[in-house]
């Protein structure tokens, strides 16, 4: 009774807003029922005989999470009963989250998502109608050109939008939407979809009711903003949880297991990581064969001459180390060819000449094309006989004949050249933006002070664009560390280890040899490398930004 009084005093607007009502009781009951349902769900998950082959750990973890949600539901039921605004907050968030999840679930139980394939097929069958979209867009575009004639402009925009709308309706009708809707209704009249639909409506009604009845719970403006903020974030957060956070945790777990997609994952601790990273070092006389000293199962990855002796480095997973070495080599070359020329291009573009924007657009062009398509072009440019690259080289070295895509010594270089071609214009545009951000006065002052162009470049420009440089280096490096498609498409004809990058190794390990545990561990090692690179960049750029003050 006292809580009721307090709530009444706090809001104190209308007598009808105060005190317990049947609605509030119903909500509390709903929350309690929800808790019971969740407990039941947790038990079901815990007892499932075969949990999608994902293993006990995942199963138990999920059950505990559901149980925790159930506890939250019970708590909110109790607190709503007490007319506490915190309880209401939990209940609102919970109902709307479950509402969003129910929508997703309803789509799933109705088979709506697989229907996307049929929609695409329908569009394909009626492809000529797709022309309606560009026509409509063209009308809108022309409409926007009319600055003065308001009526003409409005009319054209409306016509354009109308054309697009009509096109959409026609396309949907032709793609068999009426049939799909009929199928949908038929699918809906089954126990499970109906249950989901009922829950969905329930969550929505309870959530909406609670969100409107703030006064009864003595809600302040800040409290109101709190749940509204969460509701805005909800679509984002649900997707983040389902398709990012959960897979991320699962990936971490799998990296500690032995798991080959058919068997259940078995906990092996750090074995995957150790297997990937384990090295051994032997010093042997230079003439001795290294095979004699390496432990069974180890392969040589490097051998360094030390006078009369040599140091042999063996690894348990030679392929991993080879791929790591290739990745670093690739990144190094990509930085050389993709960043430094970009800076030079940006300096050229920064001369304030007319037509600069035209050149900038052209330089940018390679970066928008798909790697797969680009690799097809370069495959023929690299052809030893009819390719333009060897043709150009033969002008200077008539005897040369480089087998770009099959010689293990140059194939990585071939990929780097292609990748640099794609990235150089992009980087130049970013450098140019950095250069244009340098205040004019600084450059003028330095010229007055008698600094030559070279001094100006190294002493003034470089420090001032240091943050941009770091950004370019790190983005190039991170994309280089994840290189896969370039090699996969360009070096398809070879099976030489020179084509392996870390992600390529991961791909083969995961989707050709189905060693999911080991592949996950590889992914996390790659993440650690990227993390270190980013951290170093962050430190360096923090230090360098001192110049900016």
């Amino acid at each position: 009774m006292t809580t009721t009084m307090q709530a009444g005093q706090r809001s104190g607007i209308q007598p009808s807003d105060q005190g317990m009502t049947p609605q509030v009781m119903l909500v509390a009951l709903w929350q309690a029922l929800l808790g019971v349902g969740l407990v039941w769900g947790a038990i079901q998950v815990w007892n499932m005989p075969e949990f999608f082959n994902l293993g006990d750990v995942v199963q138990r973890f999920l059950a505990v999470v559901i149980l925790l949600t159930a506890i939250a539901a019970f708590a909110s039921a109790f607190m709503v009963w007490q007319l506490s605004n915190n309880g209401r907050f939990i209940a609102i968030i919970m109902n709307f989250s479950f509402f969003a999840l129910s929508i997703l679930l309803l789509g799933q139980v109705l088979g709506l998502y697989q229907g996307l394939d049929q929609l695409s097929e329908g569009l394909w069958r009626n492809a000529p109608w797709l022309l309606g979209f560009p026509i409509g867009y063209a009308l809108v575009w022309v409409g926007w050109r009319f600055r003065e004639g308001e009526s003409v402009r409005e009319w054209l925009v409306k016509a354009g939008l109308g054309v697009m709308m009509v096109t959409l309706v026609i396309l949907l009708l032709l793609s068999g939407l009426p049939n799909s809707i009929a199928d949908l209704f038929r699918a809906l009249v089954q126990p499970v979809p109906l249950l989901v639909l009922g829950l969905l409506i329930g969550f929505f009604v309870v959530g909406t009711y609670l969100s409107r009845d703030g006064a009864r719970f003595g809600e302040t403006i800040a409290q109101r903003e709190s749940w509204q903020g969460w509701l805005f974030l909800l679509p984002n957060f649900v997707n983040f949880s389902l398709f990012f956070a959960i897979p991320l945790l699962l990936s971490l777990y799998l990296s500690f297991t032995d798991y080959n997609a058919i068997s259940r994952p078995e906990w092996v601790g750090l074995d995957n990581y150790i297997g990937l990273l384990q090295l051994e070092f032997h010093t042997i006389p230079a003439e001795q064969a290294s095979g004699t000293v390496l432990t069974q199962g180890y392969g040589e990855i490097a051998s360094i001459g030390l006078g009369a002796n040599r140091l042999v480095i063996g690894a348990r997973d030679t392929m991993f180390w080879v791929s790591l070495g290739n990745t670093f080599r690739y990144c190094f070359m990509l930085l050389l060819l993709g960043v430094m020329p970009a800076l030079l291009l940006a300096l050229l573009l920064n001369t304030k000449i007319p037509g600069m924007k035209f050149y900038r657009a052209i330089f940018f062009l390679p970066s928008i094309a798909a790697v797969v398509g680009v690799a097809l072009i370069w495959q023929w440019l690299y052809d030893p006989i009819i390719g333009f690259i060897n043709y150009a080289i033969r002008f200077f070295f008539p005897e040369s004949n480089i087998n770009w895509l099959s010689d293990p010594n140059v194939m990585l270089v071939a990929v780097v050249i292609m990748a640099a071609w794609q990235v150089v214009g992009f980087n130049a545009v970013i450098f140019l933006a950095g250069l244009q951000n340098i205040p004019k006065e600084v450059m003028e002052a330095s010229t007055v002070d008698g600094a030559g162009p070279i001094t100006r470049f190294f002493r003034i420009m470089m420090p001032l664009i240091a943050p941009t440089t770091f950004f370019v280096v790190v983005t190039t490096l991170i994309s280089g560390l994840q290189a896969f498609s370039e090699m996969y498409v360009l070096l398809w004809a070879t099976s030489d280890n020179a084509r392996l990058t870390t992600v390529y190794y991961l791909y083969e390990e995961g989707f050709e040899r189905f060693q999911f545990g080991n592949a996950s561990a590889t992914a996390w090692l790659l993440f650690i490398v990227i993390f270190i690179v980013t951290l170093v960049q962050f430190r360096l750029s923090n230090r360098s930004s001192a110049y900016q003050d």
Partner: protein, 421 residues
């Protein structure tokens, strides 16, 4: 008076100096233009190669030495058949000839000094005549251990005795309009008359090849849905992060920021598992729904919304607009450039994505392929037809290119700005 003269002298000198500076600037600019144009040509060359090769015939692609423009051999009607025209010199004139298909035995004659004993076919020749028109003298000359028969041959109207280096067949070519004009040549070394012709039909045939038309529609649908979804969730999330106070906001934001660093390959195996559990494997939905969330896009949108003055929002709320109304009536119209930038980045990412479709859509499931997958298969299947392969590549690259031309401003400037922030 003297001061005035001094001033004019000074101003004249200043003017002169300025003009000279302008001149230097102009020369420098020309220099810069030349370099920029050269670099632009170099960077565009693969695209030019793509465009022109996609319009070639298959035989033309394998022409050596390589050339950019697509050529087809010129043909004419001869004896009721379409035959190729060859360009060759006849009686000191360049003429277009056709191959009659007749072969005539020729003798290739030379002197003792010019003969190449090891490789008689490499010898320097004096003349070549049909072997029937030369008369064998019956004598032989021994050069370096090999006997060469001596023939009496007519050269420039005079009879001459020469050694027969070797014999060989030459094809008879005649002028199609005047069959009396004839010449003999080795059919393999003659160059056909060619003209530039674009094989636009390549584009038609490639669409049917390997389901490329279907995968284009799939890709377009997937890309539109992903782009719309990402922009929508980023708008809502960015607004919440920038303009609303709620419990746990900063913690969630920090987590989001942290995820930007995580490479996609970390998620690839569990996501694959998740798709299997949900039954989405091999379906287009696997390319759409997991991609609606973007930490990076949410972050970009938040950064942009922070710059919008608070007064605008307060005014809108005083006018009775809800939070939702404020976002879509006030913030969205102000953020055209930011939304365009994000939409473009997403569009490119979705259109060009390869590793995830490669993993999740199986090779045999061609109806659900996206363009990158189709190109990957085309690469294997059309190795003997590079022109069609590159036509396919051109078709796949074209839509982002069109978007680039339409929205160039947002592309370049938007992306430049994300870099400098």
């Amino acid at each position: 008076m003297t001061t005035l003269a001094y001033e004019t002298e000074a101003s004249r000198r200043a003017l002169e100096k300025e003009r000279r500076a302008l001149m230097t600037q102009r020369i420098l600019n020309i220099f810069v233009y030349i370099i920029l144009t050269a670099v632009a040509y170099l960077l565009l060359f693969p695209f030019l190669y793509l465009l022109f090769t996609s319009l070639k015939t298959t035989t033309d692609v394998f022409h050596f030495p390589p050339r950019l423009l697509p050529y087809v051999p010129l043909t004419t009607e001869y004896n009721g058949e379409q035959v190729t025209l060859y360009s060759m010199e006849v009686n000191g004139q360049q003429r277009n000839m056709v191959d009659t298909g007749e072969s005539v035995r020729f003798g290739f004659f030379t002197t003792e000094d010019l003969i190449n004993v090891a490789e008689p076919r490499q010898s320097g020749l004096i003349t070549q005549v049909p072997i029937d028109l030369a008369t064998d003298t019956g004598r032989v000359v021994n050069v370096g251990g090999t006997d060469f028969p001596v023939y009496s041959v007519e050269v420039n109207g005079q009879s001459q005795e020469l050694l027969l280096a070797f014999r060989g067949g030459l094809s008879r070519f005649v002028a199609p309009d005047d069959p009396t004009v004839e010449t003999f040549a080795n059919a393999r070394t003659t160059s056909p008359v060619e003209r530039v012709e674009f094989q636009w039909a390549n584009y038609q045939s490639v669409l049917q090849l390997r389901n490329l038309d279907r995968s284009l529609i799939n890709t377009a649908l997937v890309t539109v849905l992903v782009t719309a979804g990402q922009v929508l969730t980023s708008l809502l999330g960015g607004y919440a992060f920038s303009r609303m106070q709620f419990r746990g906001r900063d913690a969630v934001f920090l987590v989001y920021l942290g995820t930007i660093m995580i490479p996609f390959v970390v998620l690839i195996i569990p996501l694959y598992q998740l798709m299997q559990v949900l039954g989405w494997q091999d379906h287009l939905v696997a390319l759409v729904l997991p991609w609606i969330f973007t930490a990076y896009g949410t972050f970009l949108m938040r950064q942009f919304f922070i710059t919008i003055p608070k007064e605008l929002e307060e005014a809108a709320q005083l006018d009775g607009l809800s939070r939702f109304g404020t976002l879509f009536r006030v913030f969205v119209p102000l953020s055209g450039a930011a939304i365009a930038t994000q939409a473009i980045i997403t569009f490119l990412y979705a259109w060009n994505s390869f590793i995830w479709p490669l993993v999740i859509i199986s090779e045999g499931n061609t109806p659900n392929h996206v363009v990158t997958l189709t190109l990957n298969q085309l690469r294997n299947a059309a190795q003997s037809e590079p022109n069609l392969m590159l036509t396919g590549a051109a078709v796949a690259i074209l839509p982002p290119l069109i978007l680039f031309v339409l929205a160039q401003r947002y592309f370049v400037e938007g992306i430049a700005n994300t870099g400098s922030k």
